[in-house]
C-alpha cells in the first residue's frame, strides 16, 4: 500500500524516539511532507533566477545584475512581489472554481515528487506502480488548466485552456508510451527499481544500454515532456503574443504564483523522471577505470542526482529560448502523425530487444 515507509535512517531514529507506532508514523509523514515542500518551494526561486540568466545569455544580455552578487537577490524580490500582491477575481468569474484551480494545479507535482528516488534511502514512497501513478496524477494538471481558464470569464483564457487541454491530452499518450518503454526494458514500474536496474558503468544507463533505441526513446521523452510542461516551443497554451498569457491571464498575486510554482516544480519532476528513467538516477557516471571510479563514488548519490536534474533543466531552458513556436495544427500533426506511430514502433523494437 502507499505508506510513506521512510527507509532513511532518520525514519528508524524517529521510530526509536517515539514509542507509540501511530505517532511515529505521523511524525515520519510530517518529515516527508516538510522535505518535499522544502525541495519544491525552495528550488523554485533558484530556477526563476536560472531561467532569467539562461534566457539573458542566449539573447546576448546579462540578465539581473544589480541586486546582490550578480543579481542573486533579484529572485527573492520577485517572489516577495508576487506574494504581497492583492488577490482578486475578475467580475463575472466563477469564484469557487476560480480559486479552486490554483490549488488543484499543485496536486500533481507534489505527488510525483514523493515518488522520486533522490538517493538509495531518500524516497518518500517506493510504490510498485510508480510509473502508472505518475501518468495518472498528471491528469490533475490538465483539469486545473481547463477549469482555471473557464472560470476566468475571459475569451483568451478559455482559448488558452482549450488549446492546452487538447495539447496535453494528446502528448500525454506519447509521454506514457515512452515511460512504458522504460518499464518494459527495465522490467519494473517502480522508480527505485528502474534506477537500480541501471547500476554499473555509464554504459548501463538506459540511454546507452540499448544501442540506438535508448537514445531515440530519450529524444521522444524530451519532446513529449516539453509539451507536457507547456513550455516553449510548445507553449501554445499561454502563447503571449496571441493569447496574452492564456489560461492564467486573469490570475494575479498568490493565485498566479501557484500556477508559476507548479510550472517550475513540474520542470523538476519531469527532469527527475528523465534522469531516473534514462540517466541512471543517483548512480555516478562510472567509466570502468578504477582510479577515476573511486573518486566518483566518493560523491554522494543525491548530488549526482541533483547534477543530472540541473543538466536536464538547463537543456529545457536552452530549448525554450532557441526554437520558435509551431502553429496549433502543426503541433497536433507532430503528435498524432509522427510521435505516436514512432513510439509504437519503438515499443515493438524494445520488445525485440528484450526477446534477444
Amino acid at each position: 500500500m502507499m505508506i510513506p515507509s521512510v527507509p532513511h535512517p532518520l525514519g528508524d531514529w524517529v521510530r526509536q524516539m517515539i514509542p507509540i507506532p501511530e505517532l511515529a508514523f505521523l511524525a515520519n509523514a510530517l518529515i516527508c511532507i516538510i522535505a518535499i515542500c522544502a525541495v519544491a518551494i525552495g528550488s523554485a526561486p533558484i530556477l526563476i533566477y536560472m531561467e532569467r540568466k539562461v534566457c539573458a545569455h542566449i539573447q546576448c544580455r546579462l540578465g539581473p545584475m544589480r541586486l546582490g552578487y550578480r543579481g542573486t537577490l533579484q529572485t527573492i524580490a520577485d517572489v516577495m512581489k508576487l506574494l504581497f500582491k492583492e488577490v482578486y477575481a475578475p467580475s463575472g468569474a466563477d469564484k469557487f472554481v476560480f480559486y479552486l484551480a490554483p490549488m488543484i494545479v499543485l496536486v500533481a507535482p507534489f505527488l510525483v515528487l514523493a515518488m522520486i528516488p533522490f538517493d538509495h534511502n531518500l524516497q518518500v514512497s517506493n510504490l510498485s506502480v510508480g510509473i502508472p501513478f505518475v501518468i495518472a496524477v498528471n491528469g490533475f494538471g490538465i483539469l486545473a488548466i481547463l477549469i482555471g481558464g473557464w472560470a476566468s470569464n475571459n475569451k483568451y483564457s478559455l482559448l488558452g485552456a482549450l488549446r492546452s487541454g487538447a495539447q496535453m491530452i494528446s502528448y500525454e499518450i506519447s509521454f506514457a508510451l515512452v515511460l512504458l518503454f522504460v518499464v518494459m526494458v527495465s522490467g519494473s514500474a517502480s522508480l527505485m527499481e528502474i534506477t537500480l536496474s541501471q547500476s554499473g558503468t555509464i554504459l548501463d544507463w538506459w540511454i546507452f544500454k540499448i544501442p540506438v533505441l535508448g537514445f531515440l526513446a530519450f529524444i521522444m521523452f524530451f519532446i513529449s515532456s516539453i509539451a507536457e510542461l507547456n513550455r516553449a516551443p510548445f507553449d501554445i497554451a499561454e502563447a503571449e503574443q496571441e493569447l496574452t498569457g492564456g489560461y492564467h491571464t486573469e490570475y494575479n498575486g498568490t493565485a498566479f504564483a501557484m500556477f508559476y510554482l507548479a510550472e517550475y516544480i513540474n520542470l523538476i519532476t519531469i527532469s527527475s523522471l528523465a534522469s531516473t528513467c534514462f540517466l541512471g538516477g543517483f548512480f555516478p557516471p562510472l567509466i570502468g577505470v578504477e582510479a577515476v571510479d573511486t573518486i566518483l563514488l566518493k560523491v554522494p548519490g543525491f548530488l549526482w542526482f541533483a547534477g543530472k536534474v540541473v543538466l536536464m533543466i538547463w537543456a529545457y531552458m536552452m530549448v525554450r529560448w532557441t526554437f520558435v513556436r509551431p502553429r496549433v495544427d502543426q503541433l497536433m500533426a507532430l503528435e498524432w502523425k509522427f510521435l505516436l506511430p514512432f513510439n509504437l514502433l519503438l515499443l515493438a523494437l524494445g520488445a525485440v530487444y528484450i526477446a534477444f
Binding site: E22, V137, G139, L143, L146, G165
Partner: protein
Amino acid sequence: MFPLELTDIFFYIVASMILVTAIFTIIVKNVLRSAIFLIFSFVATAIFYLMLHAEFIAIAQVMVYAGGVVIFVVFTILLTSHLGESTLAIKIPRTFVAGLLSVSFVFVMWRFLLQDLSLSTALPAASADYASLESIALRLLSIESEGFVISFELISVLLLVTLICSITVARKTRDKK
C-alpha cells in the same frame, strides 16, 4: 499499519467524502461544477480501493475516470455549453421516480447488507500483494486455465474497432466529383 479503530475512522471520513461530493455532483446547477465534484468523488473512491489493498485498481480509477473520462467531459462542456449558464432544470415527475428508485435501493441495501454484521468490521481479506501490478499483469496475459488472455485480446480488438469507427465518423468526407 494502524489498529482497526483508526482504519474505521479513516473509512468513515472517506465514505462521508464520497457521499458529500456525490450529492454535490447532483444538486449543483452548473454542469462544470458538478463535473469537478464528480472527480473528487472518483478520487475518494480510489482511496477506498487503496484501503482494500487494490493498488492497481486505485491507480486505474484515477487514470481512467478522474484523469481521462471526466477531463473529456469537462472538455466537451467547455466546447458545447453556453458558458456560465445553469442549464439543468429538474422536473417534478422525474424527481418522483428518482426518489422512488433511491428509496427502493436503500431498502434493498438495508435488507440484504445489514443482515450480515460481520461485513461491517471485516478486514480486507486479500493479502497486500494480491492485486499488485505484477500479479494482475501475469494473470491477464497468462495462457493457463486461470488466465484471461483470450478475453484480454477480445477486448483489445473491440477497442481497436471502436477507435477505427470513431475516426471514420469524425473524418472529413471529400466531395465525390
